[in-house]
């Protein structure tokens, strides 16, 4: 048994011991509670002009815990939230009903239990509780990479690759292909199945979507046994168009805008509160402007390629490098801040959501 194995074992044992200790004291440890919400919706006729694409559907109270808020969609006709009301409405069709479980802070469960131990509205959610523990495991597994590459990290790595690759493909399908491509080419299906309020797409959009579809298929031709070279066309198109678009945006809003920003007066007179000029402040302001100007010039000189950095140019470039270094130092300092905040967030997850050691948001008390 080598040293690393032992280290892992010891860490693991200590950890489990602490976990057990924590779990058996106080409110216990990482659980997720959910509240039952009965959704029952009755479909009714629409009020006149509002009756466009969608069939409107009214929330309808049936029994306890019903979602009784009326959706304020312009397409929906309002009917009084009264049990049989929807039946009396002309053209009323069948209701659609389902149950939603929404997460609630543990304290709500504690309260509910205290008042009525037999209640079933707020219950422990096993899937989410397991999820919480899985999340904690993944968090620790990633952290373990800091010590050394290990089986837990490898597992976490494999999971994040698989899940995220799938995730982005799903997002691409539902948020890009469906609304943009199919929304433009086969609107009726999209309206029927996904988005009744889909806006009609203008001709130009339709054309560009057909175009995109063709280029996309050309891309996929790579998978075909022969003629894969055709995929070079869509790529070439993308690269060319990108070049055309970026040159405009960068020259306009970076090159020109930043140059204009540098063409400000160096001397700056700061008016004093009492009236007149605050010379002390003015001198500092002027100095600052001058320093900015010098910095911009020197750093630009550093970026010259076709001149050897010797003599005057070399000296100027050197100053430019100093400015760059200061810039980088500042960026570094700022970034540290952000990174620590992120780490803090992860620790808060472990201590608060999982271990229930701290309760900054008063979710449990």
């Amino acid at each position: 048994m080598n040293r690393q194995r032992i280290t892992w074992l010891v860490i693991g044992l200590i950890f489990v011991a602490m976990l057990v200790a924590r779990a058996t004291t106080g409110q216990g440890i990482g659980r997720v509670y959910v509240k039952r919400e009965q959704i029952a919706l009755a479909q009714v006729a629409l009020a006149g002009a509002a009756a466009t694409s969608a069939q409107a559907v009214q929330p309808l109270p049936v029994g306890a815990g019903v979602k009784s808020e009326i959706s304020n969609s312009a397409n929906n006709a309002f009917i009084p939230a009264d049990n049989q009301a929807w039946e009396s409405v002309p053209l009323a069709k069948a209701t659609r009903a389902w149950v939603e479980w929404n997460q609630v802070p543990p304290k709500e469960y504690f309260v509910a239990q205290a008042t009525d131990p037999t209640q079933t509205q707020i219950v422990l959610s096993w899937p989410r509780t397991i999820g919480l523990w899985l999340a904690a495991f993944f968090t620790l597994a990633i952290f373990s990479f800091l010590y050394a590459d290990n089986i837990f990290y490898k597992f976490a790595e494999a999971t994040v690759i698989g899940v995220s690759a799938g995730y982005w493909m799903v997002i691409g399908f539902w948020d890009t292909l469906i609304p943009k491509l199919f929304g433009a080419l086969t609107p009726e299906y999209v309206m029927q199945l996904v988005q009744p309020t889909l806006q009609p797409t203008p001709m130009s959009q339709k054309i560009s979507m057909w175009f995109a579809l063709i280029l996309g298929v050309m891309m996929l031709w790579r998978l075909a046994p022969r003629g894969g070279w055709i995929a070079a066309w869509p790529l070439a198109f993308i690269v060319g168009v990108t070049a055309g678009l970026k040159i405009v945006s960068h020259v306009e809003s970076d090159l020109m805008a930043q140059t204009v920003a540098s063409m400000k007066p160096v001397v700056q007179l700061v008016p004093a509160v009492a009236g007149g000029t605050d010379w002390y402040a003015s001198i500092w302001a002027t100095l600052a402007n001058a320093l900015v100007l010098v910095g911009v010039i020197c750093t630009l000189v550093y970026f010259l390629f076709s001149v050897q950095h010797k003599g005057v140019v070399g000296a100027t470039a050197r100053v430019g490098v100093w400015y760059l270094m200061i810039t980088f130092g500042a960026a570094f300092g700022f970034t540290v801040m952000g990174r620590i905040a992120l780490l803090a967030a992860r620790f808060e997850f472990l201590f608060d959501d999982w271990l229930w050691l701290i309760d900054p948001n008063h979710l449990r008390s």
Partner: protein, 235 residues
């Protein structure tokens, strides 16, 4: 130059010039916008290629029993599950406004399997990966921030000032300074650094980058550089 390489080049050149002109010619103003959508669609279609490569590489790992083939299996399984529950919106209720439309619900809804995967696998994994940076900045600073020369000194002194100036520590250390010297307080120093040196440095970097982008784009648009579609034989 072969036709097979000439056609793509001209596609790029023409496409690029049309976009360039669309910034100046009213009738074709809109096409730049349409391209953004078109690109997203092409990219979304092209993920099939990515998925293909992901499957191929991992399947061959498994079949060849390469080191860590088990994890390749984990990748494939998690990938497949996420894809299926997501594409079919399994367990997703329709939106409250349009229960009639089968797929009107958002796929990320918390109590759907996809939402579960997102919240309890993807979020903790990615944000913890992100959080590792806190450790890496520490070790990087410890190792690399050494006063080897003027440049290094400037780098670390600035980082120093900003680090102290951006917390309560700065206030404690230099808060005693009288008002006429308040400019030397860490929190103010760090603001000056940002507004003077950092502004100058970044401005030059931004201008330089803009020039670089312009030149790179022109190399493509004028067909001077074609190595983006395969190295070597330019000119």
């Amino acid at each position: 130059m072969t036709l097979r390489r000439m056609i793509p080049m001209w596609i790029a050149v023409i496409g690029g010039f049309v976009m360039l002109l669309s910034a100046f010619v009213r009738p074709i103003e809109g096409i730049g916008e349409n391209f953004a959508d078109a690109f997203n669609v092409i990219a979304a279609i092209a993920v099939a290629l990515g998925a293909g490569s992901l499957l191929k590489v991992n399947l061959s790992k498994i079949s060849r029993r390469e080191a860590g083939w088990g994890f390749a299996g984990v990748i494939l399984i998690t990938f497949a599950i996420t894809l299926i529950v997501g594409l079919l919106k399994i367990g997703v209720h329709p939106s409250h406004d349009f229960p009639a439309a089968l797929f009107s619900g958002k796929q990320e809804t918390a109590d759907s399997p996809f939402g579960w995967l997102y919240e309890y696998a993807m979020v903790p994994l990615t944000s913890t990966m992100f959080a590792l940076l806190a450790f890496y900045v520490a070790s990087a600073a410890f190792r690399a921030f050494r006063a080897k020369n003027v440049e290094a000194v400037l780098l670390l002194v600035t980082a120093f000032i900003v680090l102290l100036g951006r917390t309560f520590a700065g206030v404690v250390l230099t808060g005693w300074l009288p008002d006429w010297a308040s400019g030397l307080r860490f929190e103010n120093l760090s603001v000056y650094v940002m507004q003077v040196f950092n502004t100058a440095g970044n401005r030059a970097i931004i201008i330089g980058i803009a020039l670089g982008v312009a030149a790179t784009s022109l190399r493509i648009l004028l067909g001077v550089d074609r190595s983006w579609m395969g190295g070597g034989d330019s000119a």
